[in-house]
Symmetry: C2
Subunit: 190 residues, 2 copies
């Protein structure tokens, strides 16, 4: 990993778990969402990465090769779909920090998007994994927005996830059962 | 336009309107969805085109150029979002035919997807534009599925759109006011 601005990695010793080593959050969520679809529980997909295509070679009618393209900034969150008739929307991020989640990980328009989803009756949240602690939290969008209104900080401390969020326990299947948390939050309402 | 298998374009004379010339359905929908967002009416987005990236050049830390990539088949429909707390999902297609909409325009898994959305309480539909007639129809997913169950045909005749669908009238703003049709279908329920 490259650290920007010449910052060197501090070799602090912590009680770090490696249970989850090798699988990143995106893979875990893909597997989880596929599992939900297979058992007809929910239909939640990761949106494709937005790309600006500049040059395409059409070698044949059916085989087009993109020769020049650029990554674009997403205007929404990465995941959305339907669960029990409800609109679901979330963003998922990993952090290497063991103390806080830097808000530079989320674009401003993604936060605006989560706010809009919430205002329009959607179920909106963040899933954040503290990779080196091997802990994955679900934080409701309303708790994220409360934090942003209340504190003028550039990161959300781990303690806020522990206090106001929900730790997602790892399972065999589905790996990251975040809908169990949603059921817990909304009780019998959904 | 290229016609496959050596089929030549028939020069049939019809009463063809060119009012809508120059704007395709995707542009119209992008403008319409942007309008809906601006007035805080609904948040419906076109999903980015799924692309399989093979080769990326990292010229600098922030400028990555994709040098080889391929288009992938979408696993869902192109549009989804939220309106009045409801999950919205649709696919939009144009056809040059003046008599029918070929089902080869929609992938089988997109039809399965629309069916799943419907079963899980979402509002799911097709928007089809008959380009040469300058007519754009909204067809509810349930009407599409009824057609597929009832008839063993490779295309949906225009008459089915006229009878079972809704003609979307063009407006100045929003250009393709499909939510007006949704309001009409669901009456005061939403």
């Amino acid at each position: 990993m490259n650290y920007p601005n010449g910052i060197k990695k501090r070799k602090t010793i912590h009680n770090i778990s490696y249970k989850n080593r090798g699988m990143n959050l995106e893979s875990d969520l893909n597997i989880t969402n596929e599992y939900y679809r297979n058992i007809d529980r929910a239909y939640i997909y990761k949106k494709p990465t937005p790309i600006k295509i500049v040059k395409v070679d059409y070698e044949s009618r059916h085989l087009a090769t993109i020769k020049e393209a650029y990554f674009q900034e997403p205007s929404t969150t990465d995941y959305n779909g339907i669960y029990k008739g409800q609109y679901i929307d979330f963003e998922a991020k990993e952090t290497k920090s063991i103390t806080s989640f830097s808000l530079s990980n989320i674009h401003k328009h993604q936060i605006t998007h989560l706010k809009n989803m919430l205002n329009h009756g959607g179920i909106a949240f963040l899933i954040v994994r503290f990779v080196r602690l091997d802990e994955t939290y679900l934080l409701e969008a309303k708790k994220l927005l409360t934090f942003l209104e209340k504190y003028d900080r550039k990161s959300i401390p781990l303690s806020y996830f522990q206090k106001s969020g929900y730790l997602i326990k790892y399972k065999i299947n589905p790996r990251i059962d975040y809908l169990e948390i949603i059921d817990q939050i909304y009780g019998g309402i959904l």
